[in-house]
Symmetry: C2
Subunit: 494 residues, 2 copies
């Protein structure tokens, strides 16, 4: 076995461990009896340790170096680059810092679980301080190896190659455009007819039927996947075994429906990755911006199109025995597109959502650059909410403590939500232009033209190119905010 | 870390891989979409390879040797003995033979799946020949290392320490006793009132309710376990996470009910193993004879007792809205205890069952000793069936090809079914004598006295003693056939 082949074999083993963990984690959230939590954590921790040992095996650096002088095809070349990246992210941080981080994250997360409902930021603050100090240490060490800024070193874990000047410029564009657009849209929507809420309760069983029907329409391959119920919707499982979850609320069928469509977007991306590279890093999805683009393209672009809603409405009416004006397509369209600045990110519509992300991005870059003391975070949060969205939380529960991310040590994750939204708009716009059957297809519940385009341009490419190169090859232009802004204008201000 | 501690740490890792495989295999049989079969096999194969590499790590023999001169407590001492046994079973066979065996087993099993329904033994024969030759090779190599006969070397994998002179003598006892006893019982049962079959269909949902109710009665800890549906009933899962399955047939509720009780017996054994030894070999169950004793003790001894059936009958009647004589306790007792020689082992009653096992034991020892050509197996099978049970299969489908074991390379497994039945009778008899509240308890659905006895005497002991020592300590006498024979006489001939 030459060095490159031996690397493929090492990463095949890592992939087996990843896939085992994927199923164990899915099981933990859906099937596992509550009392098995502790032994399950121990098993997952041991598998993680095995992965870490494989990635930090001293022979790996040597084999990578040797493989770099081999003659490799383009996929192998890209695979080697990914192998190098995984190795780098695993080896730069000393073992004792890794351990301290795991402990601090778990401690901070546990405190957050109690401090958030109690609106007790003071209790959380010292835990955040300790965790942030360690994250800064991690970011600083990595940034030296990676020749980038500390924040970029964290961002790179979720969105390989992403750098802040580009994010700053895209977010500046959005933060200039959105507040005014929101004002206009709210005014515009106030003038149009009132939105009538369909009245529940909407039976869980009927909602399940709706989920399955919509998944059939979305060509979800049930022979290689499942739908289950969990506390939070997610897409997981293993290679060739895509599993999504949702949760049902009796007074609102929309939430679960849109969660299902969102997660199907994630799952179909995984399902469309090249089978022949299934066990290798190059065969994985191309980071969180791309992943989020695939879920938002389905949820926000396609599923909220007039075409699809007109296809969907009679089916909703039938499943829930809906009668009257509330179930007319025009009303459902308005229902799905209400824009209103609010306090909570996860309930936000697609127009206000990026401002939530921008606020978090500004604060988390300041945290990593050590530009803001923890004690000042709640005030800074409230000020930014007021500035960008014109609303101000009355509690830290609904303010700076609302998200789990920082308490779990996740820095650099937030921007990918909105970069994903920009990417989704840009890809959908190009896909419609490339195939005029695409949009009419949606009005018949036919996603095949859209999915053929996504298969060709995104899913089948895995990690062959960088995220930005992939977006540019697929859409014909580099990642920008124009497509998203046009989409907002066309949908909400036309 | 001293050598013994480093062994514990190595086997903790093995346990994590075992547990991961346990959940992945459970998932494969219950939840996994069919199309994920191939990638799942790849993941399981890679995890098996990792286990094999850990067990054959050259440093292991050295660490074991060093640990043997350490001062160890009784549990650690027993743990070291188990570690040595696992190491021995993994290292004696050369890698290329392991690989040949895996291939031959999978090839033979695949052929069996088609040859059995087609009643085509000729097609299966060459695959059996190839596989048997490899099994003989495996048995011969192991027997040298283990200083036992080739067949014993295979038996040892399922029932550590078990040797054939004891099995021969127990089975000789049974094969002398049973044919005459069966004749008497059949005559006796013909004279007593006719058995009335309750008429179905018995709804799947009602059968599920019955399963859950019975599991509640059996104190099944749903906080640490699950019940699901699979093609074949089994007990699996992971440490601290016991998962059983059953299958439902609409024309017969008894099959599923008894399968559930049987699997609960297996599962409660696992659940009662000492938590502090959860990740170590000494904390595992003490082989298949003990395991089968725990399932049969519940299914055959306790659940078919008059006491329990009288407790159960009103519940059956309620769940299935049963009316008339068929649902009277006396009839249900007779229904549960019908004895009739038949062709198929898995449908056999507890009286005829050991004869099925004895036939297989005689043939498989002959196969491993190379005393019988494959071509003669069907004839020898039919002759033995006629001799011991007085019935003769008309096809090899219902004859020599009925079981998967030999086509899957499982030799030495069959005897543990009946050794388990003997053990169950012996343990139950002693438990009843030790605690006079035990049997009356069953008539109120109270299994606590029985389970307290099993916890103290069996479950909590794990692998601290050998199987025979454990049985002797628990029951006060060495493993024999007397308790079983007394049980048969008392239940069927009183």
């Amino acid at each position: 076995m030459n060095p490159y082949e031996s690397l493929e074999s090492t990463f095949k083993r890592l992939s087996a461990l990843n896939n085992a963990q994927g199923i164990l984690q899915w099981d933990q959230a859906t099937m596992m009896p509550a009392g098995a939590a502790e032994p399950r954590s121990e098993v997952l921790a041991e598998l993680s340790l095995m992965r870490h040992e494989i990635l930090t095996d001293p022979s790996l650096a040597d084999r990578i170096e040797k493989a770099e002088s081999e003659a490799l095809g383009p996929w192998q070349h890209a695979n080697l680059a990914e192998i190098k990246r995984h190795h780098l992210h695993s080896t730069t941080i000393p073992g004792d810092l890794v351990e301290q981080l795991v402990l601090a994250e778990s401690d901070c997360h546990a405190t957050w679980l109690e401090a958030k409902p109690a609106n007790d930021f003071k209790r959380l603050a010292p835990k955040l301080e300790a965790l942030f100090a360690l994250k800064r240490e991690e970011a600083n060490i990595k940034s030296e190896f990676m020749e980038c800024s500390p924040y970029e070193a964290l961002l790179d874990q979720y969105d390989p190659g992403r750098r802040t000047p580009q994010v700053d410029s895209l977010f500046a564009d959005l933060s200039e455009f959105l507040p005014g657009a929101i004002e206009e849209i709210v005014e515009h929507q106030a003038k149009s007819g009132p939105v009538i809420e369909p009245q529940g309760p909407f039976g869980i069983q009927q909602q399940q039927v709706l989920s399955e029907q919509v998944m059939e329409v979305l060509d979800f391959p049930f022979s290689r996947g499942r739908l289950d119920t969990a506390a939070h919707p997610f897409s997981g499982g293993a290679s060739g075994d895509i599993r999504i979850t949702t949760r049902y609320e009796e007074d609102d069928f929309m939430k679960s429906l849109m969660a299902v469509i969102h997660e199907v977007g994630h799952a179909l991306y995984e399902d469309g990755l090249p089978v022949e590279w299934r066990t290798q890093p190059v065969g994985e999805s191309r980071g969180m911006t791309l992943h989020e683009s695939q879920s938002l393209l389905l949820e926000m672009q396609a599923a909220r199109s007039e075409e699809f809603i007109r296809f969907l409405t009679p089916r909703l009416r039938q499943i829930f025995a809906g009668q009257g004006d509330a179930w007319e397509p025009d009303n459902i369209v308005r229902l799905y597109r209400r824009v209103k600045p609010g306090l909570i990110r996860v309930y936000a519509d697609e127009v206000t959502y990026p401002l939530h992300v921008i606020i978090r991005y500004q604060l988390e870059t300041a945290i990593i650059n050590d530009d803001i003391p923890v004690a000042e975070l709640p005030g800074a949060w409230n000020e930014l909410m007021d500035r960008y969205l014109g609303v101000c939380p009355e509690t830290d529960t609904d303010g700076v403590m609302q998200d789990v991310h920082w308490s779990a040590g996740l820095f650099g994750y937030f921007p990918t939500y909105s970069l994903g939204a920009l990417t989704a708009a840009q890809l959908f716009s190009k896909a419609k232009a490339d195939d005029p059957r695409l949009l009419p297809g949606l009005s018949e519940g036919n996603f095949k033209p859209l999915f053929a385009w996504l298969d060709d341009n995104i899913r089948s490419k895995a990690c062959l190119y960088s995220a930005d190169e992939l977006i540019e090859r697929a859409s014909g232009s580099s990642l920008g905010a124009d497509a998203f802004k046009s989409h907002i204008r066309a949908r909400y201000l036309a």
